[in-house]
Structures are given as structure tokens and as C-alpha cells.
Amino acid sequence: MRKAMRIYVYVLAAVLYTPILVLALYSLSGSKYTGIWSGPTLKWYSVLLEDSEVWAALRNSLTVALASSLVSTLIGFLFAYAAVRRGFRLPFLSVYMYTPVVIPEIAEAVSLMLFFYYLAGSGVFGWLTVFIGHTAFNISYAYVTVRSQLEMLPPSIEDAAKSLGAGQYRLLRDIVLPLSAPGIIAAVMLTFITSFQDFVKTVFTTGPGFETLPLLVWSRARKGAASDLNALATLMVLWSLTAALLFSRKALGEDEKQGARVP
């Protein structure tokens, strides 16, 4: 029984990776049509390098994800600090903060689209609306991530700094910020990846001429599989797996350190 279960787990893992491996394999095929093999060749990767649409989409994805992750982590951190350390309380506060995570993303996306449309007309859609849309859900994720880090810090350190005369600003800058750095970095990484990969929110809040990488993949994938798209998708998969590895390494490493510090 145990052996059968073990075999099953490994088969399941292999099945999960098969489509990705086939995708990567066909990105190396010289034929334009998926399933007809010739090669191996890197020619579709060089086609990508010369595709100005891909470069523009990459730039858009990176700038939106960077801005959104930094802004949402800052806002989420300030809020978490107020909630954990300053005893900031309001009725229904956690409902207020967690609802964006629970609501189906498509509902959030269409309501934001209508909001921008009625507020500023159809000309407003572009970088700013996509950035606002991403930040609106990233704040909740950043808050949850930073909050758990802040809750692990012993308040005695801050009390000591306070009784030694540190002002509120100094306390935040020299004590709280460095000590909660692991949580802040985790929040930046998590929100960056969420924003970089987001499709649903982006497709409703973007405007003509503003395309991110997921939107580009979407519009091309609807026309069917193509070799240059296989190359692009392979690169994006590799980037996701690298990010996953970095993130889990980081999370695991921090766990061990925490364990060592607080016996």
C-alpha cells in the first residue's frame, strides 16, 4: 500500500511537469507548427529578441510590478505596524482588509473598470489604471505577510528603545524596519510576482496600446499554439520556477533562523 502510494506520488509529479517539458521541447523545434519536429534550434528565441512588442510588454510588466510591489508593501507595512503595535482597532477592520482576497478577482476587476470609466472616461485606461488595480489587491497580501513577521518580534526590544529615549520616527526607522526586513522582503517578492503574472485584473483595467506579458500571451494563445509563443512561454515558466525557488529558499532559511533565535 505504502509503496503503491509512493509510486503514485511520483507519477503525479511527472504528469504535472509533462506539459511544461513538451512546451520547452517544442520551443526548440524549427517548424512553425507545434508537433512537427525539426531542429533543435534556438531560432524562435532570436525571433523573440527582435520582437519589439515583446520588449514593450516586458517593460510594462516590470514597471507596473515594481511600482505596485513597493507601494503596496509600504502601505501594507504601515497598516500592519499600526494594527500590531499601536493597537489600532476599528469595528470590522479585518473584514475590511481581507474582503479583497476573498472576492472573486473578476468581480474586483470589472467594478474597477466601471469605476475608472465613469470617473474619467475611456481615455484613462493604461499604466496608471493597471497599477492601481494591482495595488488594490496587493495591499491585503502585503499586510498579511508583514503582519505575521511583526507579530513574531518581541515587543521588549521596542520598549527598551523607547525607554532609552527613541522617538516614534527613530523607533520605526532604526528598530522596527530592520527587524521586520525579512517580512518586508517576502511581501515585496510575493506582490511583485502576483502583479507580474496577473491577467484577470489587467485585462479589464488596461487600455489600447498598453500590453503586459500575460496579455500578450493571452491574445496570441487564443489564435493557437505557435513556436515563437512556445519560446516566450518557456522563458516565463523558467522565470516563475526560479522565483518559486528563491521564495521558498528564503522562507525556509528565515524559518531556521527564527527557530535558532527564539528557542
Binding site: L12, L23, R86, P104, V110, S111, Q197, P214, M236, S240
Partner: protein, 279 residues
């Protein structure tokens, strides 16, 4: 005097904590809650007058109902199949794998979770086309986008969302309780049904919730793998807003779906909360 000074101190702390909390409250208020009010307004007002017509259409018209049934069918199928596929895998990782193997397997099964839905759905589409070009001439059976490919895509994308909560639930089941059940003479199957599954229930319910609610509004996978018949609620909302420009019905449908989701989630969370407290 002392009381007055303390009172002032508390007041100052309150004011500065308001300042710290304000950006988050204001941002979510402006860009999450205010848009929802617009959504409600857009579903109720048509050509300048207040009407519930869009809601009536959405919950009574056969065209909408057919799409809703189809989405529910897909969500239920996806949930059941991912549950059956995940449970034995999560069980092996939680109970039998050595700590090192557990880490490797968890990482391997969770890593696809980080690859976006869109990319995973596309890679499956590449697999389907590769099969049709390479193996179909040998088997004489071509895969066409439709219910089967759609369900395959859903399972592929949602499996990690089921596996992780079930694993978390199983890993909290105390091993000595299971051993005690065996010592007292429970057969393997009886132990599974009367001890193990009830103890792992919070994790199982969390997985069922995540997968059923998320897959119900999915529209990327149906669009890429569902073929012409693969029309789901999420896809319909997308078309109503971006293709037909009918934000009136689109808003009503979105709100009906959201309300259903929230009510189901609230009921399950409440029940789950009670179970955790009682257990």
C-alpha cells in the same frame, strides 16, 4: 495632572496610528469599495431609471442559466477529481515520506502553483496539439477542445490548491491517535473513515472551498481549452463587458456570482470555525 498627561499621550498615539493606517484604508476605500458601489449602481440603473430587470434576466433566462449550470458542472467535476487525486498524494507526503523526501515532493508538487494559470493552460494546449500531430495518426483518435480538454486543464491548474490544504490538514493529525485506532482493532479502511478523514476535515474543506469557488469563475482555461461550447460564467462576464458592452447585465451577473461565493464561503467558514472550536 497625571491622568490628564496620560490621556493626552493616548490621544497622540491614536492620532499617529490613524496616520499609519490611513493610506491602506483610503486606498482600499477608493479603489476597492467605491468601485463596488459603482458596480451595484450599474446593475440597477438602465437608461436613467431604476430596475431589477437585469437580475431577473440573469436568474431566469435560459441562456444565462445554461452557462451557470455548465460552470457549476465544471466546478464540481474539478473539485471532485482534484480531491480524489490529491488525497493519496497528500497522505503519502504527510505520513510516510521521510523529512527530506517530504521537502522535495512538496516543492515539486507546489512549484507549478507559481507558474501562472495562463501559461499552464497554454502548455496544455501545446500538449494537445502535439498529441494531435504526433500520436493521433497512430491512435486514430484526435483530441478536440471541449469538455475533456477543459476539465484536464482545470485539474492541471487547480491541483496544487487542493493538495496543499489537504496536506496541511493531514500533517496536523496526531500519529498516536491513528496508532491507537489500529491497536484497538480498527481495520485500515475503518481507521481512514472514522479517525483520519474526520481529523483532517478542516484541511479537506479548505481545499474544496478554494478549488470550487475559484474554478466557478475561471475564464482563462475555458477560453483556451474549452472549444466553442466551453462557455462559463467567467467567460460570459468577460464577453458581456468587453465584447457586447452590456455592463448592465454584466454587473448583475457579477454581483449574483459574487454574492453566491461570499455566502457559501461564510457558511463554510462558520461551520469550520465551530468544528475547530469543538474539536
Amino acid at each position: 495632572m497625571v491622568g490628564e498627561k496620560q490621556g493626552k499621550g493616548v490621544h497622540a498615539v491614536r492620532r499617529s496610528s490613524w496616520l499609519l493606517a490611513l493610506p491602506a484604508l483610503a486606498f482600499l476605500g477608493a479603489f476597492f469599495y467605491a468601485p463596488f458601489i459603482i458596480l451595484v449602481w450599474s446593475s440597477l440603473v438602465h437608461e436613467g431609471s431604476f430596475t431589477l430587470r437585469a437580475y431577473i434576466d440573469v436568474v431566469t433566462s435560459p441562456a444565462y442559466l445554461r452557462v451557470t449550470y455548465y460552470s457549476a458542472l465544471i466546478a464540481v467535476t474539478t473539485t471532485l477529481v482534484t480531491l480524489l487525486l490529491s488525497y493519496p498524494a497528500a497522505r503519502y507526503i504527510a505520513f510516510y515520506a521521510s523529512p527530506k523526501e517530504r521537502g522535495v515532493l512538496l516543492a515539486a508538487l507546489i512549484a507549478p502553483f507559481w507558474i501562472d494559470f495562463l501559461l499552464r493552460a497554454y502548455s496544455l494546449r501545446v500538449l494537445v496539439e502535439a498529441y494531435n500531430n504526433v500520436l493521433a495518426p497512430l491512435t486514430g483518435w484526435r483530441l478536440r477542445p471541449g469538455f475533456t480538454t477543459l476539465i484536464a486543464g482545470m485539474i492541471y491548474d487547480y491541483l496544487p490548491y487542493m493538495l496543499l490544504p489537504i496536506y496541511a490538514g493531514l500533517s496536523k493529525v496526531p500519529r498516536n491517535v491513528l496508532d491507537a485506532a489500529s491497536t484497538l482493532g480498527a481495520s485500515g479502511l475503518k481507521r481512514l473513515y472514522t479517525v483520519e478523514i474526520p481529523l483532517a476535515m478542516p484541511g479537506i474543506i479548505a481545499g474544496i472551498m478554494l478549488v470550487s469557488l475559484m474554478s466557478f469563475t475561471e475564464f482563462v482555461i475555458p477560453a483556451l481549452l474549452g472549444g466553442v461550447k466551453g462557455y462559463t460564467v467567467g467567460y460570459l462576464i468577460y464577453d458581456l463587458f468587453l465584447k457586447y458592452r452590456d455592463s448592465w447585465h454584466g454587473s448583475a451577473l457579477t454581483l449574483v456570482i459574487t454574492a453566491t461565493t461570499v455566502v457559501v464561503a461564510a457558511i463554510v467558514v462558520r461551520k469550520l470555525g465551530e468544528e475547530v472550536v469543538l474539536g
